[in-house]
Symmetry: C2
Subunit: 400 residues, 2 copies
């Protein structure tokens, strides 16, 4: 059967046959809830039992700011393969994969409508006391066991081949590691922010560090990344965290996944001056965000090292000196990459609601400038950080 | 047609039909000249015209020290693809690829019998005044244009996929970056060398650096390497250099190819105390070898940077600060990897004639110890080298 894009009626019937939870005569309803840029997302629900599933279908093009360009359907295969891998390590932290249809580039998976998109929750000032625990487990488990430290090093090479993800990597390479750092067409910079951005573009030390981080992204096939682990790819409740949408998965530098989490928490940190009701509340919430980063860092390191000691496959890599250097390097690179994430979300094509939806223009500008300042500081200083406290101190030092 | 291993008669007839240089009635002679460990190598010659070609056929197993293990025939496809790529950059420095037969895993190529294997030439004290010029061109051209600096970064990812070389990479990973640094079965250590080797195995700083270099080899998909660029893979004359046998080709760290050249020149440097007729001659020849390394380093850097400036595809990578850091990093890593090459050839499974064929046992032991001492010094100091003179000084400092 050749590919065709489903309509809601077809999605309903597909789910009836393949989801494995609906009766043949069940009364189903179906809504398309995707943003329509890259994928169709259908929720199909049994009106009697309320049981539901998600159907996610890749579209053969991407729509961004009115334009449309072709985009491989193979990304659905990659997303399905990545979800399947993640489920082998931490099934409680990802949506259950029910079926994958290669011809239709269609994934059938668990419905998580009882969760909230984390970005929205953070904007409204929610706190998630289990998030650091959950996400550090997700990172340590998925990254360690797909790396040369935790799996057969020959099998890993076949996995690198399986997850070559040319087109989606290019999006990241352009929008995070290139366009924001020069006067590129895709950038979207408000008039009032121009002088600040011009300063960044002339900062030779900054650009040299970005070039090094871009090189890492292009060349370091270290572990199977989620590849797009921002707070919009996380469904959350007080008691549950689910990481979704791994269509950017590829073999890349471990620190990049960590960095997307840190970077998006720090974008919210910058944006909170537009959301919190008072200076005290702002200080308090920002402290919560930094504490969350601290806990993620500490717990990730503890869990990753514990896995290494218990399951490390490489005799030479058991060197304690090497392990310490390795973990410090991951911390440094994570904050370097996070700095790029902060800058791209202010200068580049795709913005984040944490800052862009601040209605007060002067506060929005202030938040944008703070995000750029933190981003720049992290990029320029990251190779000097010896521990998490030095990295967090660098954030605090530039927060006005 | 299914795979079968050719005999000399079949090789002759194959060449008659496919080499494109023999008459249908030509009187051909054929000899198998391979060492028989991994491949059959036939030379087929027209007894009237003296025209000749080489047929190289991969065997489906490897024979090492009497044992035999299965080895993928796909390496012939990789060698053929790598030869074809190298010929696009520097046809004058590789044998001409005449034909490739996928079913037979058979490469037909230019005969280079008028050249000498460089390792043999060096052992007899030959000097090759054009070698640095030639090999630095080979390295700069093939590495730059297959890297993210010099080619389309999306096409490069398909090329990474094309050159996944699981089994041959494992040979390098085991025999260079693992076994020599612990008490592994494959090692081959003479009684008198045991105490020196034991000291290496207990040197925590050394092992931490080796772990870092191994990580680079496992994860850094930087450029299409030759993968096995020792002086036995180089055919040479006074006026010509030909790099052969790229069956280990894969996307790896640029510095590794450079390192195999340096490492093998330094193995010869250590071994010369068993070959040179006098102390003066020894000093003189060693100076020649170090000067060759210096010239390769300087010329490689100049050529690579010139290509970067003229053909660099990446706007962010044009940062001068980044370029300088990049070239220094390559230099450092090249000497780190070279150190591993020195140690593996003394401790590990496969030895080199430069040292092993020294007939005087005490001189051989002295050469082995010197190779280990230089190797260890380079591994431990490589990240401190700021330029080629510091690296060469480190070699001289430990030469007794």
């Amino acid at each position: 059967m050749a590919y065709y894009a489903l309509n809601t009626e077809q999605a309903k019937e597909y789910a009836r046959q393949h989801a494995g939870i609906f009766h043949a005569n069940a009364n189903l309803e179906c809504n398309e809830i995707g943003d329509g840029n890259l994928n169709l997302v259908f929720i199909v629900r049994d009106t009697a039992t309320n049981a539901s599933v998600i159907l996610k279908q890749a579209l053969p093009y991407a729509k961004v700011v009115g334009e449309s360009w072709p985009l491989t359907l193979d990304r659905a295969r990659i997303e399905s393969d990545a979800l399947a891998y993640q489920a082998t390590r931490c099934p409680q932290l990802v949506p259950q994969l029910i079926a994958f249809d290669r011809e239709l580039s269609l994934i059938v998976m668990e419905d998580l409508s009882d969760h909230t998109i984390m970005r929205k929750g953070l904007i409204t000032g929610e706190r998630y006391p289990l998030f650091a625990e959950h996400i550090s487990t997700f990172l340590a488990e998925t990254l360690f066991f797909s790396s040369d430290l935790g799996m057969d090093q020959q099998q890993k090479k076949w996995k690198v081949q399986q997850f070559i993800n040319v087109e989606l990597c290019k999006i990241t390479e352009d929008l995070i590691f290139d366009h924001p750092f020069r006067d590129a067409e895709t950038n979207n910079i408000s008039e009032s922010l121009q002088p600040t951005v011009q300063t960044l573009w002339q900062d030779e030390q900054l650009l040299a560090e970005v070039a090094g981080l871009r090189e890492l992204f292009l060349t370091k096939a270290e572990a199977l990344l989620h590849g797009d682990l921002h707070t919009g790819s996380i469904f959350i409740r007080q008691d549950s965290t689910k990481v979704i949408d791994p269509e950017f998965a590829f073999y890349g530098p471990i620190a990049f996944d960590i960095a997307k989490v840190y970077g998006n928490l720090l974008l919210n940190y910058a944006g909170q001056l537009g959301w919190q009701p008072s200076a005290e509340a702002l200080t308090d919430y920002r402290a919560y965000l930094l504490q969350t980063i601290r806990e993620i860092s500490e717990q990730f390191e503890a869990k990753f090292v514990a896995l290494w000691l218990a399951h490390g496959v490489d005799p030479i890599a058991k060197s304690t000196i090497y392990q310490e250097r390795y973990m410090t390097r991951l911390l440094q690179q994570a904050f370097g990459f996070a700095g790029c994430v902060l800058i791209r979300r202010v200068v580049g094509l795709a913005k984040v609601a944490d800052i862009e939806q601040i209605s007060d223009a002067s506060k929005r500008l202030e938040a944008q400038k703070l995000a750029l300042t933190i981003g720049s500081a992290l990029i320029k200083q990251h190779r000097q950080f010896d521990n998490i406290e030095e990295a967090l101190a660098a954030v605090v030092a530039v927060t006005r």
